[in-house]
């Protein structure tokens, strides 16, 4: 018989089941929040500081903040705004937009942001993700793959806010960037963005089946059942934009986040 250790004598821990993360994605343009549909026609949403306060109150799991125009305008990230938001946020934050050097990424992480999101730099500066991961850890680097479905049913990955196509299939690019230090993949369907029709589950299946890091599904969420579908297709977490900032058929601005209990029920973790 095994000798009884002190640990074995402890009463067991009875912890609730963990549910997948649900991540609002906020898009910045000129320091304010906008929300496009399929990367076009951005609609004004409001002040990012106010949105962060509302998500604090509602207990959102994490936030992703992305500057839509920093890269195409060849601008530096807005460090002052990022610092204000990181200071105001009582939840973890990821930031993306306009990052193409290690110094920029380090500066942003030191402002109190938990994660850096890379898109264009994945193509233009492939060594960057590895360098950030080497110092801050792979968990601090999210690779965002913006994908469009072609007429023949294949998928292409785009950078520079959907303007330039990268060569290769999404699942191959995903494997490559994971090898270069990316710790999480944010997989966005450009075709579904802002439509509320549900995630592109075939795309989620292809990429989630190809890598062993968490895949965050983005683009198309309209309700919590869509979240469950994405997890069923292999995503580890879900992100959404319009669903959390608009309400009703006329897309009136209303910042919302489902209560924890509703999310647990949707995921079947209760």
């Amino acid at each position: 018989m095994e000798p009884m250790t002190a640990e074995a004598a402890l009463p067991p821990l009875l912890l609730p089941k963990r549910r997948p993360r649900v991540i609002p994605t906020l898009l910045l343009k000129d320091g304010l929040l906008y929300k496009p549909v399929r990367f076009k026609a951005p609609k004004y949403v409001g002040d990012p500081r106010v949105a962060v306060k509302i998500f604090n109150d509602k207990g959102a799991d994490e936030l992703v903040l992305a500057d839509m125009t920093a890269t195409i305008e060849r601008r530096e990230p807005d460090y002052e705004l990022i610092k204000e938001i990181a200071t105001e946020s009582f939840m973890p934050i990821a930031y993306g937009g306009g990052i193409n050097s290690y110094d920029q990424a380090a500066r942003i992480l030191e402002l109190g942001v938990e994660k850096i999101v890379l898109n264009t730099a994945l193509a233009s500066t492939p060594a960057l993700s590895e360098k950030i991961a080497g110092v801050f850890g792979a968990q601090s680097v999210i690779g965002c793959l913006d994908c469009r479905k072609s007429l023949l049913g294949g998928y292409s990955v785009y950078v520079e806010a959907g303007r330039r196509r990268m060569g290769g299939k999404p699942e191959d690019i995903a494997q490559r960037i994971v090898g270069q230090g990316v710790g999480e993949i944010m997989l966005q369907s450009i075709d579904r963005e802002g439509t509320g029709q549900g995630y592109d589950l075939a795309l989620v299946r292809r990429v989630a089946g190809a890598v062993d890091v968490p895949v965050i599904a983005l683009g198309g969420a309209g309700n919590v059942d869509h979240f469950r579908d994405a997890i069923g297709a292999g995503a580890a977490a879900v992100a959404a934009g319009s669903m959390f900032v608009f309400t009703g058929p006329h897309r009136a601005v209303l910042i919302t986040y489902p209560p924890d209990e509703q999310l647990h029920r949707a995921f079947g973790t209760r």
Binding site: A6, E7, L10, L13, L14, L15, P16, R18, R21, N56, G59, D61, K83, A86, T87, E88, S89, F90, M91, P92, E110, L111, G112, E114, G137, Q139, V213, P214
Partner: protein, 204 residues
């Protein structure tokens, strides 16, 4: 007044901001005299154990903390690496911790393929009641970002426990005027707010 000790281990803005939002007076300082004049201390920390240990040694912070907390009984709240530094050392690298909690920091050894570091929300369970964790609510969850954890050797110093990768780990410790957590209360919404509020009122 709570002094958040600035020993160059991460951005302290969100912690300070959360205290202010709760109506609690707090300031960030590295100055020994300011620390000596404080009635509560917070030891935050993001980064490498060895960097923190080196800062303690090089800045004289270790002596100030020993005088204030270990001999003076001032309440101290440690967070993340600030908890890890209460142990004697760490697998992460060299350098001595404060040695106030019996045990060393070890790396997660997941039994189910879970990724290290642990990044995200996790539930905790109290090992015993304590004023700083009073009324934190049902199913309290907290934001963790760690590869290492302080493996407490004394059962009566364990305050909160959790499970990651199938492995049971110490998520909080307490002893006399010291309380510390591996997670980030400043990034953990109302659960974290309650802990910071409780700490601000606590009279050990």
């Amino acid at each position: 007044m709570i002094t958040i000790i600035d020993y160059r281990m991460g951005n302290l803005g969100s912690i300070c901001n959360m205290f202010h939002r709760l109506g609690i007076k707090a300031r960030v300082s590295a100055d020994p005299e300011t620390i000596r004049a404080s009635d509560r201390l917070m030891l935050p920390g993001v980064g490498h154990f060895s960097n923190g240990a080196r800062q303690f040694a090089e800045t004289g912070l270790r002596e100030v903390l020993e005088e204030k907390v270990e001999r003076g009984g001032t309440p101290l709240l440690g967070i993340c690496v600030g908890q890890q530094l209460l142990g004697s050392g760490s697998e992460e690298g060299e350098g001595a911790g404060l040695g106030w909690i019996a045990g060393r920091c070890v790396r997660f050894r997941p039994q189910d393929g879970a990724k290290v570091p642990q990044m995200g929300w996790n539930y905790v369970q109290p090992a015993r009641p304590h004023p700083v964790i009073a009324d934190i609510g049902d199913e309290p969850r907290f934001y963790f970002a760690n590869s290492f954890w302080l493996k407490s050797e004394k059962r009566d110093e364990v305050l909160l426990e959790s499970i990651y990768g199938g492995e049971r780990f110490t998520a909080g410790v307490a002893r006399d005027s010291i309380v510390a957590f591996q997670f980030h209360p400043e990034k953990s919404h109302r659960f974290g707010m309650r802990i910071l509020e409780n700490f601000a009122k606590w009279s050990p």
